[in-house]
């Protein structure tokens, strides 16, 4: 890819300049640059923000606005990737959702954003997701990881139900389960049989990375 174009695109993401990102991505497509190459520039830029967050140099609003900025370019690229029949390499698929009875999705969205930035494909089920929907999605998307979030002490028990439903559906052994959210503790995660818990979005991504190889072995 054209070095100057790549540099400008990266800087535009880091400046959260959505208009410029859209323009530069369109320019790359017009020049016939393979869309996967351009997509790499965008994901590398958002990963830079994620790394900055890990180092305490950047903050969540940077990450979320960065993700929003990248998505403007990704929308254009995905259309072209799909048209030419290519597929992006990913670290694996993660099905993610906030459990039934809980409408809080900020934490989940942060994890999702960082997972995407780090090369995972994410199927987001949204909020208030019942155990049967988790099972349905696990069946359909065949994820490496199923991730659940709960903010409230009153809804956290739903996680146990989801795991039980996955066991009953014979899917539990095919995937890893990670849980998080303000109401979740390491002790609780262990008790319900989850494979991992981390308290922050940044650490959740590290956890996901550590779970994937184990899953594919």
């Amino acid at each position: 890819m054209d070095e100057i174009l790549a540099k400008n695109l990266r800087e535009s993401v880091l400046k959260f300049d959505r208009q410029n990102v859209k323009r530069l991505v369109q320019e790359s497509l017009d020049k016939g640059i393979p869309p996967l190459e351009t997509a790499d520039v965008l994901t590398n830029a958002i990963r830079e923000i994620g790394d900055g967050l890990s180092r305490g140099e950047m903050f969540l609003p940077d990450l979320m606005l960065g993700a929003k900025t990248v998505s403007v370019g990704m929308e254009l690229l995905e259309q072209e990737i799909s048209r030419i029949g290519q597929k992006r390499k990913t670290l694996g698929t993660v099905v993610i959702g906030t459990v039934f009875g809980d409408l809080h999705d900020l934490g989940k969205n942060m994890v999702k954003t960082l997972l995407v930035a780090n090369g995972f494909e994410v199927v987001d089920l949204g909020v208030n997701v019942g155990h049967s929907r988790f099972v349905e999605a696990a069946n359909k998307a065949k994820p490496a990881i199923l991730a659940m979030s709960a903010l409230l002490t009153t809804t956290v028990a739903e996680m146990r139900k989801v795991i039980r439903s996955l066991e009953e559906a014979g899917l539990r052994q095919r995937l890893k389960i990670m849980v998080g959210g303000a109401a979740v503790t390491k002790e609780f995660a262990k008790d319900i049989g989850a494979d991992g818990y981390e308290p922050t979005a940044v650490l959740a991504v590290e956890l996901a990375k550590s779970l994937v190889p184990a899953q594919t072995e």
């Binding site: 002490t153 146990r160 503790t185």
Partner: protein, 486 residues
């Protein structure tokens, strides 16, 4: 008969100008009228539509006219009684009275490692006994002191916690709801002869009420129990980063709940809870102890005084510290005094260490000193001929005169000072001779004394215990059938 709390004897702190208040209140009305709120409950949508709201059944969006909002607020009692198991522990909420309540933790803090774990049943009971004994704990928050104890399944935790609280304390309590436990919890409270306050109408910020929350609120009203409206605005995340914007949205979320309550059952007792706090923009965790939280509470207290609805400051005294240390003391003390000065009717304080994750009776004992100091402050300075003591000053005169042996000093000094129970107040030599004990050591001693000497003033009767036991068995059967007791 009721608990007296502390009476603030001077005008409350006002952090906003009159114009500020009006601008924020107008913004709240605009939010309710133009953007509206999402209410995922068919019965609630029907009720609101019948009362002149614009209702879109496809996206659950409800837009509320100003007249309806004003009428709902008008219907809220500005003062009301909350009935405890023993009338001496009733609360009269509203006016210039400030109460303190115990705060929850999901686990018990280990004072050696500062880690936490699920408490054992005896530890739960001891914590309730300590809270029952402390003079400035006026009531218990939901799932306080702990979110259950060892050996109890998730589904039964709140219910079994409530049973312990009613057994080992006569103080009033709030109760949480989950998993359709409301019937069991309300019936258990009634069996013990008490009311419970349920913050049932829990808004999912921004601007959304789940079906479950509405259902819980309606069941609360069916039982004739007081209902809390609650929302967890997070500045810069679920609400604008600006405190003014967050206030406008926070108020709209709570008022939407109040409209629903006052339509369902007019003139119901409502208390505003609310869990507003800053977000830690590095981790996404709550930023407890941030001064923005206290500023928000001060403004919230001012505005809701205008609305005439009693309120509790919930997250104000939460700290980000995991220990009982300087940060902990600094953050909770600043918040407590600001909440009390600005007119909170009740302040969530005793025992909670980090957010709602951890609790320890040692913190609760230390907090009782804090509550006493804050309470003493807001009771102000009494100025009369007797307290100005002009005659006394004339009679004592210059050195070698002194006041130590006067009847006036004997009568007044204990009223004017607040004597802390656990602070280290010794001179240096005395402190060294006494083993260099710090406030935590003093609190541990006090806890031992409480557990050795305190028992609940009125025990449950055997008939009450039997009825509660029957309800607990029903709950176990209910959750057993649902497969929730595994």
């Amino acid at each position: 008969m009721s608990r007296t709390g502390f009476k603030r004897r001077f005008p409350p702190l006002e952090i906003l100008s009159r114009e500020d208040v009006e601008q924020i209140k107008q913004a709240t009305l605009d939010i309710l009228k133009e953007t509206g709120v999402r209410i995922e409950h068919k019965g609630a949508l029907d009720l609101l539509k019948q009362n002149d709201c614009l209702v879109n059944y496809d996206n659950f969006r409800v837009r509320m006219p100003e007249g309806l909002v004003q009428e709902a607020l008008r219907r809220c009692p500005s003062t009301f009684r909350l009935k405890a198991r023993d009338p001496k522990d009733d609360l009269v909420i509203g006016g210039n009275t400030v109460y303190f309540n115990a705060a929850p933790g999901m686990g018990i803090v280990d004072l050696d490692t500062w880690g936490y774990r699920t408490p054992k049943q005896k530890e739960y009971q001891d914590a309730v006994t300590v809270l029952d004994a402390l003079p400035y704990v006026d009531w218990f928050s939901c799932y306080t002191p702990y979110f259950g104890y060892e050996g109890v399944t998730e589904a039964m935790k709140m219910t079994m916690g409530l049973v312990q609280n009613l057994t080992y304390s006569t103080k009033f309590g709030a109760v949480g709801f989950a998993n359709y436990n409301w019937d069991f919890n309300f019936r258990i409270a009634q069996a013990a002869g008490a009311e419970v306050l349920c913050p049932a109408l829990m808004v999912s910020s921004p601007l959304t009420l789940s079906e479950f929350a509405v259902e819980a609120a309606f069941r609360t009203l069916d039982y004739g129990m007081p209902c809390g409206v609650d929302t967890g605005s997070v500045f810069g995340a679920t609400a604008p980063a600006t405190l003014a914007g967050a206030l406008a949205e926070f108020n709209a979320e709570l008022i939407a709940g109040i409209v629903l309550i006052q339509l369902k059952k007019p003139y119901s007792r409502v208390m505003v809870f609310g869990f507003p706090h800053a977000q830690n923009m590095s981790t996404g965790s709550p930023y407890f102890g941030n001064i923005a939280n206290a500023m928000f509470n001060a403004a919230e207290n001012q505005i809701w005084r205008d609305y005439g609805v009693p309120l509790r400051n919930t997250a104000s005294c939460y700290t980000s510290s995991k220990r009982i240390d300087f940060q902990n003391g600094m953050e909770r003390s600043l918040a407590a005094i600001i909440s009390a000065l600005s007119g909170a009717h009740t302040i969530n304080l005793h025992g909670g260490v980090y957010g709602e994750l951890t609790h320890t009776p040692i913190q609760a004992i230390l907090d009782d000193d804090l509550a006493g100091m804050v309470g003493r402050f807001i009771q102000g300075i009494e100025v009369t001929d007797e307290t100005v003591a002009l005659d006394l000053i004339h009679s004592v005169g210059p050195v070698p005169g002194h006041f130590l042996d006067t009847d006036h000093t004997f009568k007044w000094w204990k009223k004017e000072q607040f004597i802390q129970q656990c602070a280290d107040t010794l001179t240096y030599p005395e402190w060294e001779r006494a083993g260099k004990a710090d406030c935590i050591a003093h609190a541990k001693n006090k806890m031992q004394k409480i557990l050795a000497n305190h028992t609940v003033s009125t025990k449950l009767t055997s008939a009450q215990e039997a009825e509660i036991e029957t309800i607990v068995r029903e709950a176990e059967t209910f959750y057993g059938k649902r497969g929730d007791l595994d």
